[in-house]
């Protein structure tokens, strides 16, 4: 029996060697691969265990992590959640999702980005708990508050941008949502909130300032067409166009009318400056056909149309369509047809004009601060490109100032300040409510802020809502907030 027992022992040994091999395979050889498996909640919990950095605006944290008792170790808390929702977004381990800055700057906030490698090593050596870095936004809480209050319950968005730098000062969208409700760790509750938000016909999860269902820019797009006219060198503000009460589109049976329903002023002809000031459609449609869709598209793209921006939130590109025939081109002359724009894009048009013709790349972040609050990374101002010559920009500015002081955008007037502006009232369909716009900047001679306001659903007044009545005052309030800082 001795021989058999020795052999049996060898079998036992072989069984245990197999177990040694199996555990080594899992715990050492394939450990990293298993940690990266998407079903591995332990790795997920580990990343949540890092105290996430804060999102800071105007010196105060608008998103921060506080210790919690559950497996996630920390609970994300948002300040003024509805106001900041389009900016911060939310992050939730239960939903396994993140949006806004939380998503775009996740690696920095969670301390896992490549530039934080040394920081992590230092934390390991010094025995500190790992912490994420903080993101300092360019947004100004005062301006954000002004925009949020001015927009109120209206459906739409407001964006404010610093023309010389491209720094975004305010980004508001409405209806918004409570990010804290989406950050809670009760899976049933958070899923219920999420499902409800998704099912809401008003789409509160859309960030209408940089995305959502894009609106036609309407008359605000006339700024781009006028820019293209000046840039061509063939037109001045005094260039004249015929002034009929209605104009049949070339090769078409359709007619174009002015918003007033009549001619643009009393004269036989109308100047480009007056067409812009009274926001007449017929002369702009004629101008568009004369310029051709290609020239307009080129100018539009110099302002940022058809381009991708990461600010670092991903911006839905605004579009000027390709290969248009004359009637289609005519419609784009007053921002209809298939032209679509985000408020950010229209703010960039104003900002480009304000900044002597140079469009700056928009951005939301100034700095990244380490857990020790030392600057880890700074973001510089960068140029997107030149849309206009300095002279043409000056000419555009004068026309826009006239628009506010003595024209269609009078609702944006600020006492003692020269405000440049342009309204827009875009049609969405024969009976659909208008989209109301305002874009502009102030002060005209030394611009500190450019804004764009969009109001969807006719600001609740169908086709009766006027852009100067509803959109211009919001733009004015935001510009005032910047000027009064």
């Amino acid at each position: 029996m001795t021989r058999e027992l020795r052999r049996l022992w060898i079998v036992v040994l072989a069984m245990f060697l197999a177990l040694f091999a199996a555990t080594s395979w899992i715990q050492v050889v394939r450990a990293d691969e298993l940690a990266a498996n998407s079903a591995n909640t332990r790795a997920l919990y580990d990343s949540y265990q890092v105290q996430r950095g804060a999102i800071i605006a105007g010196g105060t944290a608008i998103a921060s992590s506080v210790p919690s008792d559950d497996v996630y170790s920390f609970q994300r808390v948002y300040t003024d959640p509805e106001m900041w929702a389009p900016v911060t977004g939310y992050i939730n381990p239960m939903l396994g999702s993140a949006t806004g800055i939380e998503q775009a700057m996740n690696s920095v906030l969670s301390g896992t980005s490549g530039s934080q490698f040394l920081q992590r090593i230092e934390q390991i050596i010094s025995g500190q708990k790992p912490r994420g870095s903080n993101v300092v936004l360019s947004l100004d809480p005062v301006v954000q508050r002004a925009a949020y209050d001015a927009l109120g319950d209206l459906q739409g968005a407001v964006i404010a941008i610093e023309p010389a730098t491209g720094r975004i000062l305010a980004m508001v969208t409405s209806p918004s949502f409570d990010t804290n409700l989406l950050a809670q760790h009760d899976s049933g509750a958070v899923n219920a909130v999420y499902d409800q938000l998704e099912a809401d016909p008003l789409h509160p999860l859309y960030n209408r300032a940089i995305g959502g269902n894009l609106n036609p820019p309407g008359s605000t797009f006339k700024l781009v067409v006028a820019s293209a006219a000046l840039a061509s060198g063939k037109y001045t503000p005094q260039s004249t166009f015929p002034n009929p009460a209605s104009w049949q589109l070339p090769q078409s049976t359709d007619f174009v009318h002015n918003a007033s329903g009549g001619a643009c002023g009393a004269g036989e002809t109308v100047t480009l400056a007056d067409a812009l000031r009274y926001s007449c459609n017929i002369p702009m449609a004629m101008l568009a056909v004369e310029l051709g869709d290609r020239a307009i598209r080129e100018e539009a793209e110099k302002y940022g149309f058809n381009a991708d921006f990461e600010i670092p939130l991903t911006v839905t590109p605004s579009t000027y369509p390709q290969a248009l025939d004359d009637p289609q081109t005519a419609l784009t002359g007053f921002g209809q047809g298939d032209v679509r724009a985000t408020p950010l894009q229209m703010a960039l048009v104003s900002a480009g004009i304000a900044n002597d013709g140079v469009v700056m790349n928009p951005r939301m972040i100034d700095r990244v601060l380490g857990p020790n609050l030392l600057v880890q990374e700074s973001f510089d101002d960068t140029e997107f490109g030149r849309a206009l010559s300095t002279e043409d920009a000056e000419t555009m500015t004068q026309m826009m100032v006239a628009n506010v002081s003595n024209g269609a955008a009078a609702g944006a007037r600020i006492d003692g300040i020269a405000v440049a502006g342009k309204t827009g009232t875009a049609e969405n369909g024969p009976t659909d409510p208008y989209t109301l716009w305002f874009t502009g900047f102030a002060p005209a001679e030394n611009p500190q802020v450019a804004v764009a306001v969009v109001l969807e659903n006719g600001a609740g007044h169908g086709q009766q809502g006027g852009s100067d009545r509803y959109a211009s005052p919001i733009g004015k309030a935001v510009m005032e907030a910047v000027l009064n800082r």
């Binding site: 029996m1 058999e4 027992l5 049996l8 715990q27 940690a35 498996n37 591995n40 332990r42």
Partner: protein, 471 residues
């Protein structure tokens, strides 16, 4: 010269008397070497268990609480009682098995307690409290066995009776009125709904006794006949009978009680013992072939066996992880082990509670997550030493019955560890057994400590009895 004769006779007597005195003296001067070794190892075991519990409290609570004294003290006191009983009743018993069983039981309690802490279970709701109570019962029974079973050969007399008892115990869970309904596999017996027990754990001991006795009796006939084929002596049809009987019994367990693990365990133990008894490789081949056929049949007939195999093979398929009866637990356990890595997260600092059944079936991944590969290796080494000691007791055994009994019992432990650890590490499909000594569960603890007691008894007999001439 006759004169020398009386002197030489007297000398012999003198020498004999002297030897007796010397022996007695030696016994006085070097008392109980084995037990002293055991005591030293036990003290080490207490230190290990105490440290584990202290680390658990530090890791999970951030402080050491007085309750640790209950956990450490209770187990230490119980083991010391067994130790003292051994000093009086079985002084020559193997000194290593008790310390190993103590460390394993203690580590199990530490991990069970650690998960109780996370879940906020206290008092009688806490599995760790129950585990300590069961440890007390298990060790009391071990002491009883050591005290009452002075001569384990008595068991040989009751070979068939214990065999019958084993089979009855195996069948208990399917008896109406005794079966516990809500469990997946029908392996539980509930008496009055209060006291639940897994009789299969005790049955495996009864069957080991029965196999040993039966094989000693039939060994000659099994050995003396056979056909030569493929260079091996194959048993005649008549001798194949017993293995077929146990094959059918194991299949019955798999089918009736939906308990793949116990079926494989019983059959594996029988094959190992019949091989040890006869030395015929043909039995092993026959056994492995029958086992493979049995699993293949079961996989076809029983959906749960097929599901287990599918969950093993496609474990990381997301659909399989999500699926009902899928691989969620298995994959969670593996993620836990991977999270532990080489050195582990530290006791009380991982998340073993994310794995379902982390205190019972998945106790090893739980320990592996917090103690790392190093800890897993240490635990596996303890098992390997335990089993090796058991086989060594079999090697040095005086009689075939003792040899076979010690071998069978220790091989059961080895097979059970292999099936469980191999199952949770995806080496083989997972089957529901308990990890000896570690896993939460009274039946298993009681059974394994009785195995410890039997090994102690057999090993004590080995060293006390005069060396036998026939081997």
């Amino acid at each position: 010269m006759k004169a020398t004769d009386p002197i030489s006779t007297m000398d012999t007597a003198q020498i004999r008397a002297d030897t007796t005195v010397v022996k007695a003296l030696r016994k006085l001067r070097m008392p109980q070497t084995q037990r002293n070794r055991e005591l030293a190892l036990l003290l080490l075991a207490f230190v290990i268990n105490g440290s584990a519990l202290a680390l658990v409290q530090l890791g999970a609570l951030g402080e050491i609480q007085w309750t640790i004294l209950i956990y450490v003290g209770a187990l230490a006191a119980l083991t010391l009682v067994l130790h003292i009983v051994l000093r009086f009743t079985a002084p020559q018993a193997d000194p290593i098995v008790v310390p190993i069983a103590t460390v394993l039981t203690g580590l199990g309690i530490a991990m069970i307690y650690r998960i109780d802490l996370y879940r906020g279970h206290e008092g009688w709701d806490a599995l760790s409290t129950r585990q300590i109570a069961w440890s007390a019962i298990a060790m009391a029974l071990a002491v009883t066995v050591v005290v009452l079973l002075r001569n384990y050969r008595v068991l040989f007399r009751y070979t068939y009776l214990t065999g019958l008892a084993g089979i009855v115990l195996l069948l208990l869970p399917v008896v109406p009125g005794l079966a516990l309904q809500d469990a997946g596999a029908a392996v539980w017996v509930s008496i009055g709904g209060i006291f639940t027990f897994q009789p299969a754990e005790i049955a495996k001991i009864c069957l080991a006794v029965f196999f040993a006795g039966y094989l000693v009796r039939t060994r000659e006939s099994l050995l003396s006949t056979g056909h030569r084929f493929l260079g091996m002596t194959w048993p005649r049809a008549r001798e194949i009978g017993p293995i077929l009987v146990f094959w059918v019994l194991s299949l019955g367990i798999i089918v009736l009680q939906r308990d793949l693990g116990t079926g494989i365990l019983v059959f594996g133990m029988f094959v190992a013992m019949i091989y040890t008894a006869t030395g015929r490789t043909s039995w092993v081949l026959l056994g492995v072939g029958l086992a493979a056929a049995g699993v293949a049949i079961a996989a076809q007939l029983m959906p749960y066996v097929g599901a287990r195999i599918a969950a093993w093979w496609h474990a990381f398929d997301p659909a399989m992880i999500e699926a009902d009866r899928g691989s969620y637990q298995l994959v969670q356990g593996i993620f836990g082990l991977a999270q532990g890595g080489l050195i582990g997260t530290g006791l009380g600092q991982g998340r073993p509670y994310l794995t379902p059944l982390s205190q019972s079936d998945y106790i090893l991944p739980s320990l592996g997550e917090e103690l790392g590969l190093i800890g897993v290796f240490a635990i596996l080494c303890l098992y390997l030493i335990f089993v090796s000691r058991g086989i060594r007791i079999g090697l040095t055994g005086q009689d075939d019955f003792g040899k076979l009994l010690a071998t069978g019992l220790s091989f059961t432990i080895a097979l059970q560890v292999f099936i469980m650890v191999g199952g949770v590490t995806r080496l083989i499909p997972l089957t529901g057994l308990t990890t000896p000594f570690l896993a939460a569960g009274g039946s298993s603890l009681v059974a394994n400590w009785i195995i410890v007691a039997l090994l102690l008894r057999v090993s004590d007999a080995v060293r006390t009895s005069p060396r036998a001439v026939i081997g």
